[in-house]
């Protein structure tokens, strides 16, 4: 559905996006991940024909963004970082205007406006002035605007920025419910969001593609191991941390033991094991067998956060290129 090949975007002095290529299949939800100024917004702007690429090509539904921008624009719904709203308009008035602009026939317009209002849960503010709406409602009107013409591709630039937790969950659900019929690209720098909503992740850092894979693969590929947190307490008196560490290292399948925290009578370890080896039962037996108390034993979730930091921290932190224009 979306095909980007060797796309580069240069601003006057900086390279915002440097030779990135990726493909998105129909009906997928793709998370676009990267620190601030990584080039997420720029890439999205190229895909929406707002900016032309400096080099390379970008195609949406087979249409090139430079050659046939009108065809591309017809198939794209776009929610920029700040929703493009006119404060002096009423919600329905605004959606009708956008619908007309997107080429919805007048006969269908009213029905479509009603549908998206329902879908985005803004039916109770339809006659309010947009300028008087709260941030959450504005965001949802922005989303309604993006889906009004039922586009094949939805491009959402930080759709949950500035929403309260409840609204974030609702928006995520809404985005998920749109998948299937729509191909969705959403950018964010909030990692749990990607884990919750997306099937695929594109990580981009300082204008370059850092990784592209499914969420599960990425988690598995980048850490060939699983980790367990173990907290041990001495039955009486002081606990010898080194002794415990040794004991834990002897458990079959354990690859590394790190002492995280050590107090008088208790120690917290992080135990890494080879992938596919479930060492928790053995760990528990080893601890209890040695006469210590096992206070806690829990798997450490290897979140995208670790992967993300690993990928983006590889280069030393420098002022990111590009930036929001």
């Amino acid at each position: 559905m979306i095909k980007v090949e060797g796309m580069t975007k240069r601003y006057a002095r900086t390279v915002a996006v440097d030779n990135i290529s990726f493909e998105v299949e129909k009906g997928r939800i793709v998370g676009f991940l990267g620190p601030n100024g990584a080039g997420k917004t720029t890439t999205m702007r190229v895909l929406t024909c707002f900016l032309p690429p400096s080099a390379g090509t970008a195609k949406v539904a087979g249409f090139d963004v430079l050659e046939q921008p009108l065809e591309v624009k017809k198939r794209i719904g776009y929610l920029p970082e700040t929703p493009p709203l006119y404060p002096e308009m009423e919600v329905v008035e605004y959606l009708t205007f956008v619908g007309g602009l997107k080429g919805i026939p007048r006969a269908d317009l009213k029905r479509r406006v009603g549908e998206v209002c329902e879908r985005c849960a803004i039916t109770d503010v339809t006659t309010r002035l947009i300028g008087k709406l709260s941030k959450g409602y504005r965001q949802r009107v922005g989303l309604a605007q993006a889906i009004i013409h039922n586009p094949d591709v939805l491009i959402l630039d930080e759709p949950t920025a500035g929403l309260d937790p409840k609204q974030i969950i609702e928006t995520r659900e809404l985005i998920k419910s749109l998948a299937g019929n729509h191909t969705i690209i959403l950018s964010t720098h909030i990692l749990p969001e990607v884990e919750h909503t997306c099937q695929e992740v594109i990580i981009i850092n300082r204008g370059k593609l850092a990784a592209i894979d499914s969420v599960e693969n990425l988690t598995a590929r980048l850490r060939g191991s699983e980790a367990v947190a173990v907290e041990v307490e001495a039955a009486a008196g002081k606990l010898n941390g080194g002794e415990v560490q040794q004991k834990l290292e002897q458990v079959a399948g354990v690859s590394r033991v790190i002492c995280k925290e050590s107090r008088d009578s208790r120690c917290l370890f992080e135990v890494e094991s080879l992938q596919g080896r479930h060492v928790r039962a053995d760990l528990a037996r080893a601890v209890v067998g040695a006469g210590w108390n096992l206070l806690e034993l829990r798997p450490v979730a290897l979140s995208l956060e670790n992967i993300f930091l690993e990928l983006t921290a590889a280069e030393q932190p420098a002022p990111a290129p590009g930036g929001k224009q």
Binding site: P52, P80, L85, V98, G100, L101, G103, Q145, Q325
Partner: protein
Amino acid sequence: MKNIFIICRKEMKSYFASPIAYLLMALFAVIFGFFFYSATAIFVMRGMESQMMGRGFPMDVNEWVIRPLLMNASVVGLFLIPLITMRLYAEEKRSGTIELLLTSPVRDIEVIVGKWLAALLMYLCMLGISALNIAVLFAYGKPDWKPILIGYLGLILQGGCLLAIGTFISTMTRNQIIAGGATFAVCLLLWVLDWVTAYDPSTFGRVVAYLSVVTHFEPFSKGVLDTKDLVFYLSMIFFGLFLTARSMESLRWRA
């Protein structure tokens, strides 16, 4: 075509949703009203004088009242036009709604013409108020209506050309005040260019004076429809909108 209409309607709504439309119409009503009062008062006084002197020839309303009025209206327009055009693009650029317009399946030219048409309509609403004053003349006298129509056509053309220039200037900044100020400066310059003829009778002076919007309006105010002036205004409108289109395009490439 449909898109032009959609954009135009939205812009008109924006004008009338903000105080700017009412402010413009009120300002114009007051200023034009004052001119109207002065012109008719002078006319009535002169008329009485000539009667008392025993000169029986009838005085011409068109010549004495309407022509100076139209000239004045054209100057007042010059001052108010920046207020109409300054927000057209500057506002969209500042609030980010330009992203909506540029990523919607509409051609740049449709957006430009739609916005310009809305500005022209706004200008017409403003001019429309002066029709009330003219109606008073018809109620109490017998002015010739054809020169009046030509005069208004001239006002519309002159307005259209300055509005096109204002639209262009509005694309270049995200600050409405800068857009308004620059448009005002350009309007003023285009107005006073004909002063050149006063001290420079060379060809260069004549060419510069030719660019003045007022030189071309004068025949219209007399009720003369000259193709030369018509062509001037139409080509200026075209030129202004053309520059706007170029500026919109460069907006994408510069970003």
